[in-house]
């Protein structure tokens, strides 16, 4: 167990360093940060002084080390486009993205799992077929198109929900939340639905196929033969055993939600990190891009680590397998 954890931790650190390196290379070698900071008029002395002040004359591994240290402390430099500290910009945008993502993940789970269980238990009912057809369409529909269609129907035609922005937000310390106002909640509906649909269909299909698999096993047949109630068999035995892959995929899908949040935020002009990133890409705002890269990399590494460890805790079979496969 300890060897496994240590191995995973080491791997995470390696990945994080690789991401940090790309991010650093981007930051340091694309465009000349000194020229950008100095503006139009400067003398040669000023230029060289700034180079020295910023430590850009030092060998590259020293610079990289400094970059990592300051990134760990939350220092990402200053945005070229908005002339404000990147850390501050991201701190402002983070709540919007997290609230949206959490809402979407919650929706996907609370709707997707029951739908999956239902379609797994009642394979041949018309409702199951209907769900499955819908889910196939859902997988083929690009996120941005779902957003546009929802806007067209609910904002343009019916005019019941806002099509862009977060509505009114309330400040709770440094966290700005849209959960406490009616307009904030209304603004959340369309983006959250858009963002959750893909994950929802995925979870539903996953739970369904796992249920089908488990229901075929001998211990389910045995449980039925013992005369247990259907409910006990379906939920106590079957659903429980489908949970391992569901946990993994759901965990990994949090990453997917962050990725697709970029698209959703662009469609709905939701003032989160994804929109900030796209605007930075379009304006070659390198410090923001570098910071976003690091942050998303960090999210992913942490999520994967947690999922891996959870997996290990939830499924005892894995421990035996790993032992047999000599720690591979």
């Amino acid at each position: 167990m300890i060897a496994f954890v240590v191995q995973r931790l080491l791997q995470s650190v390696l990945v994080m360093l690789a991401v940090a390196f790309i991010s650093f290379a981007l930051f340091r070698y694309i465009g000349d940060p000194v020229l950008i900071m100095l503006g139009q008029d400067f003398t040669r002395e000023q230029y060289e002084m700034l180079v020295r002040d910023l430590g850009l004359d030092q060998p590259f591994y020293v610079q990289f080390a400094k970059f990592v240290v300051s990134a760990v402390q939350g220092e990402f430099g200053i945005s070229y486009r908005l002339a404000r500290p990147v850390a501050q910009l991201i701190a402002e945008r983070l709540p919007a993205t997290l609230e949206l993502s959490m809402m979407a993940a919650l929706l996907a789970l609370t709707i997707g799992v029951p739908m999956g269980v239902y379609t797994g238990l009642r394979r041949d009912s018309w409702l199951s077929r209907f769900f499955l057809t819908i889910s196939l369409v859902g997988v083929s529909l690009p996120t941005f198109l779902i957003g546009i269609l929802l806007i067209l129907v609910f904002a343009v035609q019916l005019g019941v929900l806002p099509s862009f922005g977060r509505g009114d937000v309330v400040k709770l310390g440094s966290w700005s939340t849209g959960f406490l106002t009616t307009s904030g909640l209304k603004a959340l509906v369309l983006p959250a639905v858009t963002l959750c649909l893909f994950q929802l269909t995925l979870i539903m299909r996953l739970v369904r196929s796992e249920m089908l698999e488990v229901l075929r096993t001998d211990y389910i047949k045995f449980a039925r033969a013992r005369g247990l109630q259907n409910r006990a068999v379906n939920f106590g035995h079957a659903l429980k055993n489908t949970l391992v892959p569901v946990i993994t995929i759901t965990g990994l899908q949090i990453g997917g939600i962050i990725a697709f949040a970029i698209v959703t935020e662009t469609v709905f002009q939701w003032p989160g990190m994804g929109l900030l990133f796209i605007q930075s890409v379009n304006n070659a705002d390198v410090p923001v891009m570098a910071a976003y890269l690091l942050l998303v990399g960090f999210f992913f590494v942490v999520i994967n680590l947690v999922v891996d460890l959870l997996y290990y805790v939830v499924d005892p079979r894995l421990r035996i397998d790993r032992g047999a496969a000599s720690g591979h």
Binding site: Q11, L136, V137, S140, F144, A259, I278, V281, V286
Partner: protein, 297 residues
């Protein structure tokens, strides 16, 4: 591989037949675009701004000259869709081909050679698989956009997108090919080839590769759907193909600006075309996976 069993399951399944027909129609239309579209939408001489914002032919203000209406520049929407599908399919096919080439090569090598090479390649693939493909494509594309000089970038933007989407996709191929290669490696024909002293590269290419192509074909079809969607998404975000060669995603992005003023046809028709295309490709991929998988029969 394409034996009568597979053909039989194809003919028995009407949904699959329809998907195949739809895909074929799209591919043919894309290939023949300049000859079959009613107008050439990017020929400036044939454009008339007076035609701009004509709604579809069956609505009140529609004109019989433009079946699906026109856009803000007076281009025929039907023609732009066919030309857009051309770009979408081109990028999709090339990206999948690229991913296939990289994935198959690395998969073959790591399966056949093994050892440290294998661990490194597979570790990288594992790590990359934990990031969603669309995010990888977006990051590569974004980095290239910032790193390359502006005029150079707009020239090669198409290749950058193909590269970005292709890179996002290679691990699946590599993993599958490696798995099958491990199985094939221990079979007698490979050992025989080795005994008569063939070069390892030759063995991989001539003997192992043909026998691992079945699953590769399935993944290729499924990734084609992903690649088309990824391209559309990038283009919708404004970081995809250059605006001089609009794909379906670009058309949707442009149309989106006019959604609120009521010109819905500029968004809805390209969107519908995209959905139908991707749905057809995905259905084909799903069917192919099931048909080639004896476990599910």
């Amino acid at each position: 591989m394409l034996d009568s069993d597979v053909f039989h399951s194809f003919r028995r399944n009407p949904v699959v037949v329809v998907s195949a027909v739809v895909t074929t129609v799209f591919v043919l239309a894309a290939l023949l675009a300049p000859w079959i579209t009613p107008y050439h939408p990017y020929d400036l001489a044939s454009l008339d701004l007076n035609d701009a914002f004509t709604p579809p032919a069956w609505t009140e203000d529609g004109s019989r000259r433009f079946l699906l209406g026109t856009d803000d520049q007076g281009r025929d929407v039907l023609s732009t869709i066919v030309f857009g599908a051309r770009v979408s399919l081109l990028v999709g096919f090339c990206a999948v081909l690229f991913a296939m080439t990289v994935g198959i090569t690395l998969g073959l090598v790591s399966g056949y050679v093994g050892g440290a090479v294998e661990s490194v390649i597979m570790r990288v693939a594992d790590v990359q698989l934990t990031f969603p493909g669309i995010l990888i494509a977006l990051l590569i594309d974004g980095l290239a956009r910032t790193a390359l000089p502006r005029d150079l970038h707009s020239e090669i933007a198409l290749y950058v997108v193909i590269f970005a989407i292709g890179i996002a996709n290679w691990p699946q191929f590599a993993r599958t090919v490696r798995g099958s290669t491990l199985v094939e490696k221990s079979k007698e024909y490979v050992q025989a080839a080795r005994v008569i002293g063939l070069h390892p590269g030759l063995i991989m290419l001539r003997h192992v590769l043909p026998n691992v192509m079945g699953p590769v074909l399935v993944i290729a079809t499924l990734s084609l759907g992903f690649a088309i969607l990824a391209e559309a998404t990038l283009s919708f975000l404004g970081v995809g193909v250059p605006p001089t060669r609009p794909s379906l995603g670009t058309l949707i992005r442009v149309g989106n600006d006019f959604l609120f003023s009521g010109e819905w046809w500029m968004t809805i028709f390209p969107g519908a075309a995209l959905i139908v295309l991707v749905l057809a490709v995905n259905l084909l991929g799903d069917w192919l996976r099931d048909a080639l998988n004896p476990k599910l029969r």
